[in-house]
């Protein structure tokens, strides 16, 4: 049954769930997870048979594996993971840890090492081309992964092979573990670089789940691989986290959690 909520409502609910789960587990990586709330929501709503292992499902690869909590939370939102499973996040013996594991039904690849998910996804897209299968492959890529040479190998390969079923959603939040991306390692203009390497480039506001969903639909007819350049804000939705480097790692105190929740819509 289709979720009656709007993409925005689902994304907002996902954001709250991320905060609650991270606080309960006393874990960080919040800035990254909050950055992709709308990206993961739009992807989940667009990917056919999302959250299942149906053979005809569209494939979704979270290349920035450290934002796994956002993936788990959208899976709960859409009913593919039980709330009780999410409650086990980061507990001993749980499959739900700080990076996605392939044993979880909805995970195509275990990611966590940056610059690898996009390469695996390239293979999935190449396989669909070889076998003329209809599934699409979506990758959520962080801009810090543009630091990795292997990411560019895969981008070039996808462009050369015209892997039209591949869509990358670039989480362009401009920061990474220890600093702002332009201070750490300049990698040029992603739009121009993807375009030069044979990609269809689409820009969309990174925190508008509705517009992101439309952008994903727009890429379906492309004859080239597509990238949706999504300008985002790390720590989005929590005033004291937004664009702050330290929230790549920090867990919240009780006081911080209360403040963060009070800033969420519907509180």
């Amino acid at each position: 049954m289709q979720d009656p909520r709007s993409p925005k409502q689902i994304a907002d609910s996902t954001r709250k769930r991320i905060l609650e789960t991270a606080f309960r587990a006393n874990k960080g990586h919040l800035g990254s997870a909050l950055s992709i709330c709308e990206l993961i929501t739009a992807t989940a709503l667009s990917a056919r048979k999302f959250g299942t292992d149906h053979p005809a499902r569209d494939r979704v690869v979270l290349s920035k594996g450290h934002a796994s909590l956002a993936l788990y939370c959208i899976l709960v939102e859409l009913g593919h993971i039980a709330e009780s499973d999410l409650a086990s996040y980061c507990k001993d013996g749980s499959l739900l840890q700080t990076h996605p594991d392939r044993e979880l039904k909805s995970v195509e690849f275990s990611t966590g090492s940056l610059g690898q998910g996009i390469g695996f996804a390239t293979g999935l897209a190449l396989a669909s081309k070889i076998r003329t299968e209809k599934y699409r492959t979506f990758v959520i890529l962080s801009d810090s992964e543009l630091n990795e040479g292997s990411t560019w190998e895969s981008i070039a390969m996808a462009g050369t092979q015209c892997l039209a079923s591949l869509t990358v959603l670039l989480d362009l939040n401009g920061q990474q573990a220890l600093g702002y991306t332009n201070d750490v390692l300049r990698v040029g203009n992603p739009s121009k670089m993807f375009f030069e390497l044979g990609w269809n480039v689409v820009k969309a506001p990174g925190h508008d789940a509705g517009q992101l969903t439309s952008a994903i639909q727009q890429t379906e007819s492309s004859t080239k691989p597509s990238v949706i350049i999504a300008q985002t804000t790390a720590g989005r939705g929590v005033s004291f986290m937004e664009r702050r480097i330290e929230w790549h790692y920090l867990p919240m105190t009780s006081e911080q959690f209360q403040t963060a929740m009070s800033e969420q819509s519907g509180q």
């Binding site: 392939r102 195509e108 690849f109 275990s110 966590g112 090492s113 610059g115 690898q116 996009i118 390469g119 695996f120 996804a121 390239t122 293979g123 999935l124 897209a125 190449l126 396989a127 669909s128 070889i130 076998r131 040479g149 292997s150 190998e153 895969s154 070039a156 390969m157 050369t160 092979q161």
Partner: protein, 302 residues
């Protein structure tokens, strides 16, 4: 050997449409046969070994059987983390071809010498290493490579290893207490060691070994259990390779044999030459290996 390999992959590909071939822009004069016969299943991904293994992982996840071709140092070492997090972690049948074991690339230098590939790859659970030396048994072994449900590293010499004339000799043994094991392409180096053992009056058995994995090989364990001394010979650093594997394996025996490792001892930098020249300079001195065996036997004989 490379042509033989491509012939075997092509033969399998005719029967199994899951086979796809990826090359990191290497294999001139070798890979064209596959490309011409299967143009839609051949991909030159460019000089991008990491992307090649990553894509192969995706292909395998989607149900295909990718063969990834490059020089051993590049496919095994450059792409190692992708092998670890890709076909090993996901237990997928990616076949990683590494051409040029040991000093096979002679004048090309250490960047091209696969002298540490086994050390790295044998640590990986579920990954099998296949190291043929010639075309004998190639076909049956190749079927095993293809049908294995997990990743396989194919350590392929550029040319078949033929016994050097000087090294050929009949081996006559009577209740030997010594076993010489030639791993992969090290046949001639092992025969040289054998020659020194013979000169020292040592009887021994001689076998070739072409497979290795991270788990215990019980056939091999049973074999070495019959000897007091085993000499491993390989075109790899003595540290971390087949000999080290044998040492670890032998610890599973109540009375383990002494293991003497014969392989590459020093960093092969500076002057270069033929495989033979490089082996003479950088591998264990066969005289020394024979002397160790003699001494160990004397001690055991008390």
């Amino acid at each position: 050997m490379r042509n033989q390999l491509i012939e075997n992959i092509s033969t399998i590909a005719r029967q199994d449409d899951r086979v796809v071939f990826l090359t990191a822009d290497l294999g001139f004069g070798v890979t064209e046969a596959f490309r011409d016969e299967f143009p839609k299943r051949f991909f030159n991904v460019g000089v991008a070994e990491q992307a090649m293994i990553a894509a192969a992982t995706g292909l395998a996840r989607a149900g295909l059987i990718p063969y990834c071709y490059s020089i051993a140092t590049f496919s095994a070492l450059r792409a190692f983390e992708f092998i670890r997090n890709g076909p090993v972690l996901h237990q997928l049948p990616v076949k990683i071809i590494g051409v040029g074991p040991g000093f096979d690339y002679e004048n090309d230098g250490l960047t091209h010498f696969a002298v540490d590939d086994i050390a790295v790859l044998r640590s990986q659970p579920g990954l099998q290493i296949w190291a043929p030396s010639d075309e004998v048994g190639f076909k049956s072994s190749f079927l095993r490579v293809h049908e294995y449900a997990g990743p396989v590293y194919l350590r392929i010499p550029r040319r078949p290893i033929t016994k050097s004339v000087a090294a050929q000799r009949p081996i006559e043994v009577q209740s030997p207490r010594v076993l010489v094991i030639a791993f992969g392409d090290s046949l001639n180096e092992a025969l040289e060691v054998s020659g020194h053992l013979t000169s020292s009056g040592i009887d021994f058995d001689f076998v070739e070994q072409h497979w290795m994995g991270s788990l215990a090989d019980f056939d091999l364990l049973q074999l070495i259990a019959r000897y007091a001394i085993c000499v491993s010979v390989e075109t790899h650093y003595v540290s971390g390779g087949f000999g080290s594997y044998l040492l670890e394996l032998s610890q599973g025996l109540e009375q383990p044999p002494r293991i003497f490792r014969h392989g590459i001892e020093s960093l092969p930098v500076g002057p270069l030459g033929t495989r033979k020249w490089l082996s003479n300079v950088h591998m264990t001195d066969p005289t020394q290996t024979a002397q160790r065996v003699v001494k160990a036997l004397q001690i055991k004989n008390g």
